[in-house]
């Protein structure tokens, strides 16, 4: 080894950032149109939401050789002292006082893998780690002003800029190489109860940002300019004034303007129609009709498609009209081109929190299939003329108590589903828990937010890894979970594997054809969706458990 090489090696050991990250070109928006393969450049891996990787080095034959490459435990917050030797300094931003600690220290985010670097988040925190050895390259900490710190779904990336939403409603742009802040902009007013959790989705020169709120506030999606942070458009998910589309589904303008419909999970994008398609949360007040009226309360609990350049709605489909149980339809939809009734169709698949599965035409929003996939789902009395469930007023929260499945946590929740073109099946974790919903607030004006009820969970009819046939909505197979399986979400690959946590402390590789476990490792309860990428000709598998990121590899 020459002295120069030794020096270089020493430098690299001291500062991994010098070795990696510097040479990358980041994410060109055109990259995001490619099917998911070597890298993981956006929340769902690609725009389709399939979470299906074309990688097949790890497959049914080789998966048993998967080996731990590294694990990295991260420390959220601004605790420099206990961080040990060799970690880079924390980069601090934010407008809060710096001493508000409201929790949220679990990795629920999908990591981005770009140029050999992994980027991921917890609320108020973003990290870059070296994808080859897990060493921390930088850590950005945002001093919060408060807000609900329930989770953060990850980052969006545009060239060398990363975008993160914060619980106190800012969009923060970071330099991917250094972690230094480029700018931050307000998304919503914290005082109105908004809190922001989604991973921003980058489409062209748009950064698409949703937010959340539990009190009676209108939901919206905004498009930001990736360079300047200026707002390009803002789309409200509920009617805001007389004459707005959907107003006749509400009891009054005031009710609609306080109607909820938060867009709190990332959506998907269809380049051919230029539509950003996302789903919305519950109407408010959630458990009482009050001033909401008797209508469908549009566009809450719905799949909504908006033109990316204009922010104008192209179509919607209401998956839970007039929801009464906080069954947010906030699941990332899945876009599939596949045969339907003998024709190739551009489809959208979604297994909703309310226990119903839907196949839609994603160009027009036309309803094609709906089925009940939650085996004990009991809150609806059939389907309406558009194929959406009709809520049964008998199963609303009542003073004497009403026994309902699923609970307000839903048959599934934010955890992303996965679709494999190899099987034509949509995979989703199905939970069949029961709650008794007691109405506390009998005020005819309705309650507020998620208040006015008491929910007592009383047991479970079981959880299942579930494979749904999109052509008819029927369950192709289901495999019982011993724990609360699929908790962080699912991944399928061209290696004919389905990866998920089993809720009993294992990360499991299943056979996509029947769910049979082919490999597992006991790393604890998986808290995000497993992901995969290719580096140096080797396929990696990563998953998080709480504050720890695990990386597995075929050597």
């Amino acid at each position: 080894m020459t002295i120069g090489k030794m020096l270089l090696a020493a430098l690299c050991m001291l500062s991994p950032a010098l070795l990696t990250g510097q040479s990358g070109r980041g994410v060109d928006p055109a990259d995001l149109r490619k099917p998911l393969k070597d890298s993981w450049p956006t929340y769902s891996g690609d725009y389709t939401g399939k979470r299906y990787s074309a990688l097949d080095q790890i497959n049914q034959s080789t998966v048993k050789h998967l080996t731990l490459a590294w694990m990295t435990q991260v420390t959220p917050g601004n605790r420099q002292g206990s961080r040990g030797f060799g970690r880079p300094p924390i980069i601090v931003g934010g407008e809060g006082p710096g001493d508000i600690n409201v929790g949220g220290g679990t990795i629920k985010a999908s990591a981005l893998e770009v140029d050999g670097v992994l980027y991921f988040t917890m609320p108020d925190n973003a990290w870059a780690v070296d994808a080859r050895d897990g060493s921390e390259l930088w850590h950005y900490f945002w001093k919060t002003k408060g807000g609900t710190h329930i989770g953060n779904r990850g980052l969006g990336m545009w060239h060398q800029t990363l975008f993160m939403e914060t619980p106190d409603d800012y969009l923060v742009a970071l330099d991917a190489q250094t972690g230094k802040e480029r700018w931050h902009k307000g998304i919503a007013d914290l005082s109105q109860g908004y809190f922001s959790t989604p991973a921003p989705v980058v489409v062209g020169n748009h950064v698409l940002v949703g937010t959340g709120d539990d009190i009676d506030a209108p939901g919206f999606v905004q498009s930001f300019d990736p360079e300047t942070g200026d707002v390009q458009w803002k789309f409200f998910t509920v009617p805001m004034k007389k004459g707005d589309p959907g107003m006749d589904s509400w009891g009054s303008v005031d009710a609609a303007r306080h109607g909820g419909g938060q867009a709190w999970v990332p959506g998907v994008y269809d380049p051919e129609t230029n539509l950003y398609i996302f789903s919305t949360g519950n109407p408010t007040p959630a458990f009482t009709t009050g001033t909401r009226g008797t209508g469908d309360n549009l566009f809450t609990c719905a799949v909504v498609a908006v033109n990316v350049d204009t922010g104008k709605m192209a179509w919607y489909y209401s998956t839970s009209p007039h929801d009464m149980h906080d069954y947010d339809s906030a699941q990332t939809p899945v876009l599939v081109d596949a045969m339907f009734n003998g024709k190739m169709r551009k489809l959208l698949l979604t297994a909703a929190r309310n226990g119903y599965y839907f196949t839609l035409d994603r160009v027009t929003g036309e309803h094609l299939v709906s089925t009940k996939y939650g085996v004990y789902t009991n809150w609806a009395k059939g389907l309406n003329e558009k194929g959406a469930p009709i809520y049964d007023p008998e199963k609303n929260a009542t003073v004497a108590g009403s026994l309902v499945s699923p609970t307000s946590d839903g048959t599934t929740n934010w955890e992303p589903a996965s679709y494999s073109p190899d099987t034509g099946l949509l995979y989703v974790a199905q939970h069949n828990d029961y709650s008794i919903f007691y109405l506390l607030d009998v005020d005819p004006r309705g309650s507020m937010g998620l208040g006015g009820k008491e929910e007592a969970q009383v047991g479970s009819g079981g959880s299942f890894l579930t494979a749904i046939d999109y052509t008819n909505g029927k369950i192709a197979w289901e495999r019982p979970y011993y724990g609360d399986g699929g908790g962080g979400g699912l991944l399928t690959t061209a290696g004919k594997l389905l990866f998920a946590g089993d809720g009993a402390g294992n990360l499991v590789a299943h056979d996509v054809a029947n769910g049979k476990p082919l490999w597992h490792t006991r790393i604890g309860d998986v808290s995000n969706a497993p992901q995969t990428f290719m580096l140096d000709g080797h396929q990696y598998l990563i998953a998080a458990t709480g504050d720890t990121l695990w990386s597995f590899l075929l050597y």
């Binding site: 409201v102 002003k145 009190i215 026994l403 828990d433 607030d441 208040g451 008491e454 969970q457």
Partner: protein, 310 residues
């Protein structure tokens, strides 16, 4: 709302009214349950007008500057005279149809009256809000009072006043419930046996109902090592050698099963599909299976019967 909120919000607020995380399911252990409290939990942990940082409100951790108690009291008196008929005593809307002020974006965002005062002075007359003839200082006092009530909104937007007290949950018919109990529950339970005096032990009908549907209350003692309670799942593991190991089911998944033996020892076995043979006996399965069978009327009737067992 976002899923995990329940627990986070409840912990932040120090509340007892929370849904537990999803119960362990799939035939292994009895489902977890949290009995409902007899009365609604307090809406928020602050008194009106105290300001400061809150961890249990609907904006956890947010700092709001404390209000002036004298100004707030003055504003409250003015509100009662000028505003109550439209906006209600509890600010959630009154008899004359004024909107709920506690979810109003104006009230929520107002810092020092800068948003509320112009409306009091008549900026929204075209939307039906009349100009109120009070001087600006009085208008600012009303704004301070509104902000002080906004501070007491509970987690996830729960109104500070829950309105009228909810009526009794007892709507069922006791004799119908007794017949149902005899038919469906009698093989395991008896009014003169295990459930004798149940209504004296659990005096709140709502807690009683939640507990019996769930198949047991919160204060479930951990059985002593080797001892089994009537709710304990047991398991028998038949090894390839023919040896059969039986005991308390401690945990099970697709790959391992752990058995607590009568002598207090614990043994874990590897599972490879059907080897060894594992049979779980869960006495609580019947309770779970019944959940798909009960109507709400059945539940209310049985509760009406059980409350008579004093």
């Amino acid at each position: 709302m976002q899923a995990e909120n329940f627990l986070v919000a409840a912990v932040l607020a120090g509340l007892t009214i929370a849904v537990p995380p999803r119960a362990v399911s799939q035939g292994s252990t009895p489902a977890a349950t949290t009995p409902a409290p007899a009365t609604p939990a307090p809406a928020a942990q602050v008194a009106p007008g105290t300001g400061g940082r809150r961890f249990g409100g609907f904006v956890p951790g947010q700092h709001r500057p404390p209000g002036d108690p004298v100004q707030i009291a003055h504003g409250k008196a003015l509100f009662a005279v000028n505003c109550v008929s439209c906006h209600g005593v509890d600010l959630r809307g009154g008899d004359l149809g004024g909107p709920n002020l506690l979810r109003s974006h104006v009230s929520l965002s107002d810092q020092n009256g800068e948003l509320i005062l112009p409306i009091i002075q008549g900026s929204r007359q075209d939307e039906g809000m009349p100009a109120i003839p009070i001087d600006p200082q009085d208008g600012l006092a009303v704004a301070a009072y509104i902000r002080s009530v906004v501070e007491t909104i509970g987690s996830q937007g729960r109104p500070p006043s829950l309105g009228k007290e909810a009526p009794s949950i007892l709507v069922g018919d006791a004799s119908t419930g007794q017949a149902y109990f005899t038919a469906k529950c009698g093989s395991c339970h008896s009014a003169t046996g295990d459930l004798q005096g149940i209504a004296a032990r659990i005096t709140d009908p709502k807690i009683l109902q939640t507990n019996w549907v769930a198949g047991g209350g919160r204060r479930r003692r951990m059985p002593a090592p080797g001892a089994a309670s009537p709710r304990t799942a047991t398991v028998s593991v038949t090894l390839a050698s023919g040896e059969k190991v039986e005991g308390r089911l401690i945990r099970i998944d697709d790959f391992l099963v752990t058995v607590g033996l009568a002598d207090g020892a614990v043994r874990t076995f590897r599972r490879d599909e059907d080897v060894p043979k594992v049979e779980v006996h869960d006495p609580m399965k019947a309770h779970r299976d019944l959940m798909a069978v009960y109507t709400d009327k059945d539940i209310h009737d049985v509760t009406a019967y059980l409350v008579t067992l004093k």
